[in-house]
Amino acid sequence: MNLSLADTLNRRAFLAHSGVGLGAAALSSMLHRDAVGKAVSHLAPRAKRVIFLCMAGGPSHLETFDYKPELARQHGKPMPDSFTKGQPIAQLQGKPLTCQGPMASFRRYGQAGLEVSDYLPWQAKLADDICVVKSLVTEQINHDPAHTFMNTGTVISGRPSMGAWVNYGLGSAADDLPGFVVLTSVGGRNPQPIASRQWSAGFLPSRFQGVEFNASGDPVHYVRNPKGVTTPQQRRLVDTIQALNRERFAAAPHPEIETRIAAYEMAFRMQASVPELMDLSDEPASALELYGATPGDGSFASNCLLARRLAERGVRFIHLYHRGWDHHGDLDRYMKICAGHTDRATWALVTDLKARGLLDDTLVIWGGEFGRTPMFQGKGGPGRDHHIKGFSMWLAGGGVRGGQSYGNTDELGYHAAENVVHVRDLHATMLRVLGIDHHRFSVPFQGLDMRLTGVEQARAVTDILL
């Protein structure tokens, strides 16, 4: 978490008046914030925050936004070698590869006639608000590394996730909440494991890491007072600790003591602000109905409503995971379950943000860590295997032109064939929307200038922006 501006200023004054003769260099090395602020001045920002709706497991592009009539015609026939030869394959390794036609019907929606499958009737209503990118590619074919790649731009452990980068670059605008919050939900096929490294700060200072808010138990670890301790008592205890630390500072001054005093104040404030945020009892019934949320149920719908509350309170990066999209088999059944959990709430979130004027400066991104093969896989009814060479995601709000699609896959939905968008291009685009030039946004680590977008050339897809 960030110290508030007031804290930072106090800290300056504190250092200046503490009688500790710190040199200018030492001072600036401690006031990390000065250097961090540089990032925001690259370009005019179009959005101030990101809500990332991650459909973990990898939803099928072929049953959501990428309609392939040719694949229907080839249904049941062998997948042509020309597509698959030399390509990485996951669970279908060494098995016959057969075309599986689309399992859903598609219709055109909105002024631009965006194609959306019947599994997603609510998102279809957003046709004029979203931009579907049909030509995403990633580099990792197994879930865990693919999430790591989507979040950090590399599979090497220990790198910051995009939420941490954004939080680091822009700082939190919330005084009593972390700048990067993660919310998860389950439902659908066997839930995907999600490692906490997905919201790690990597080599960035750990206060920029994502903080997971939980629907049950303590909303944040250790945010509740111990049993037998009331809030006024906790306040008194923290006040005493602060006074003792100030006493120590007088005897043996060090800036870390002052930082600790600020951290304890923030910790105490979070003990009130986090439960207040999570408590939906101040939401009118109409809001709960809009999302289809039941307070405290830990559902994707509740998380969408919480995402709006977090956005209102200045949180920079809000990352939702719904962990049910790994449809190797019985795709029809599981698509219905997953859509049932997420479709309406996704529509409600975008609609609600729009109604509150928040969509203009919020970038909403929807998608999984990869897509699914045009080939049949049959673990209990037709399904599809992992696929990384072409899949769909959508973006909305934050300067994104709605009512369009961008890029295309080939006629069988295998390779991204037109206007290919690599994961690092998605990162560059996201940063661009936030006013950050991805190329200049780097941090030295182990001798390299590390970037979210890595060392390969990345491009911000400005064609999709207003």
Partner: protein, 776 residues
Amino acid sequence: MARSSAIFLIFLSATTLACLGAELDFNRDIRPILSNNCIFCHGPDEEERKAGLRLDTREGILQDNVVIPGDTDNSLLIKRIDSNDPDEQMPPPESAKALTAEERALLHQWIAEGAAWEDHWAYVAPKPVPVPEVKRKDWPLGAVDHFILARLEEEALPPVAEADRATLLRRLSFDLTGLPPSVELLDRFLQDSRPDAYEQVVDELLGSEHFGERMAMYWLDLVRYADTVGYHGDQDHQISPYRDWVIDAFNENMPFDAFTKAQLAGDLLPEATVDDKIASGYNRLLQTSHEGGVQPKEYLAIYAADRVRNVSAVWMGGTLGCAQCHDHKYDPYTLQDFYTMAAFFADIDEEQHFKDGTNDLPTRRAPEIDVLSRRDREALARVEKALEDGAIAPDKRARLAQRRDAILANKRRTMITVAKKTPRVTRVLPRGNWLDDSGEIVAPAVPAFMGTVGVKGRRPTRLDLAHWLTDGSRDSGKQTARVFANRFWYLLFGRGLSASLEDFGGQGSVPDHPELLDYLALAFVDDDWDVKAFLKDLVMSRTYRLSSQATPALLEKDPDNRLFGRQARHRMPAEMIRDAALDMAGLLDKHIGGASVKPYQPEGYYRHLNFPQRRYHHHEDARQWRRGLYVHWQRQFLHPMLRAFDAPSREECSAERPRSNTPTAALTLLNDPTFVEAARALAERLLRGDRQEFEARLAQGFRLALSRGPTTVEEDLLRTLYQHEQEHYQKHPQDARALIQTGQAAVADDLDPVEWAAWTAVARALLNLDETITRH
């Protein structure tokens, strides 16, 4: 906070150091400028090299009049860096790199003064250096102090005075055992007026079996020891005997070369013992996966890369991992080097788990063996010997048999290394692409520019690699010694002599005290890799004993303490914070070794784990209060307390932990039941003291928590807190009972719950103080 400072210190390093030393030094002043701004395009990577120009070698800079020694006017380098024409200018504007005026001035000066060139410091073996003379003859206690004081005198910076004895003992105790000094030791040391009192206590602590635990804490970070596989389902794997072997090895003061060989190649040692096999588990510490759909070929490539990264980071202080897809951008490691290093590990038999890895807890990771710990083996031998005596009474025989069975029940399974008869084929993977079989087949070899392991007529093995890394008669061994001299220094002084503990390459930090670092490295080798002797030399120095409180002059001229004119003060590692709280509470279970333990953890924390779904059950016996290094290390969801205080997930080597200072950490110390239980146990301990006055009890609390007594102001603040709490709990006795029942420790019924709860609040305050969790 600490980590962000570290990041920005890198920006500052060039200027600060240049200001400190007047004469130009190529490795310190010039190489970093070239490395940061030029080498990416004009460096060792042939594929990326622009205009055929390389600026990382002497030959390179002299070619085509790029640099003409002594002639700035005609040196192309100067023309290009001073140019305002975007087509001419270097570095080019699109590189987003730019030289500062100061850096340009330094390059001018360097060329004007003859463009002296030195090889990169870390690739040159440590050289014997004379111990420098100093003016203040009475200050140095040994060679270390000569080096430190000579440099401080050069800068006209007097070092601070020594720390007071209590602070010194506390520092020493945490540094060598990871635990606070007991009140008995504190009293004994404060009253010991013998001239060698300090050395006595140094020997006592180095001889403590907690020394091995403290050293293991650090070693396990380097080698990425964890209790789970890391990828996908993050199932438990079985390796805790390896952790205990590390502890034993440090306690027995196993020479560092033997320590290295046992881990890299214990299985290849002649007549390998059970301990050697356990140690060879090092090769199995990497992350593994049996996720449905993994392609063995891909994962074998991932594992090979993981091993190369780790062995080069741990023993060579190198970032050879960067050469997986291309020649290194800054260092002379080639793509070829990466794969020849990988080939050393191509004999490790481990492919079985792609087939038989199960979603059980623990999962299977053949080859594994069932072993007893060294302690248990020794105990068993004693029992069996006793049983051999035909004359023992039947009841005693029965007891012994029972004891034998109890020991045998302690057997634990552990992953080991077994060498395949025919190693896997290792190919250079073009651009790191595991699908590409076009690359050359390579045999094991160390990076070409560093020489060879010196084996003829057969395939070099992991054991050869281990020999090469620790052969003190060769440059390679001396360089390894330098990597560790630097890290041991860091453990005792808070930062390395070179600040980059993981990277001794071109982009790493040039040592602030290169001669001292070389001196220490050679001393380590000459002393036959004796770790305890090495550490003892450091802690016996006056430099180690200095106060950590800076003078204004030191703060002004050396804010980062690169010259060590004072000691370091920093927040302690996660495990020490936990251990200290449990220890002062009297709860700490001090047994050494054993299977990993599960302390209290927030409910549902593992809910994202699957294959299988995870239910966490904390231990409900004394295992609850074992030391932090025994806590179950779940890579994907490390215990929130450890995480809040920056313990790494152990996916990769980490030679240095950040020292953050966050609200999350504050919430943990305030509310984690482990710390609340420790507070109520500490309160009970104080209530059961000899004296009953508030002041006496508080003084005892301070001695346990801080190794000192309270000031009047501190006493007043805590008395006020105590009185308020007492008042509150008198009105709400049910709250008092709730608080003192936190955790599993027995709740005595002979104490007044109101008093106990009020003292628990005081104890919580003590556990949360900045000073309590800081090493000074």
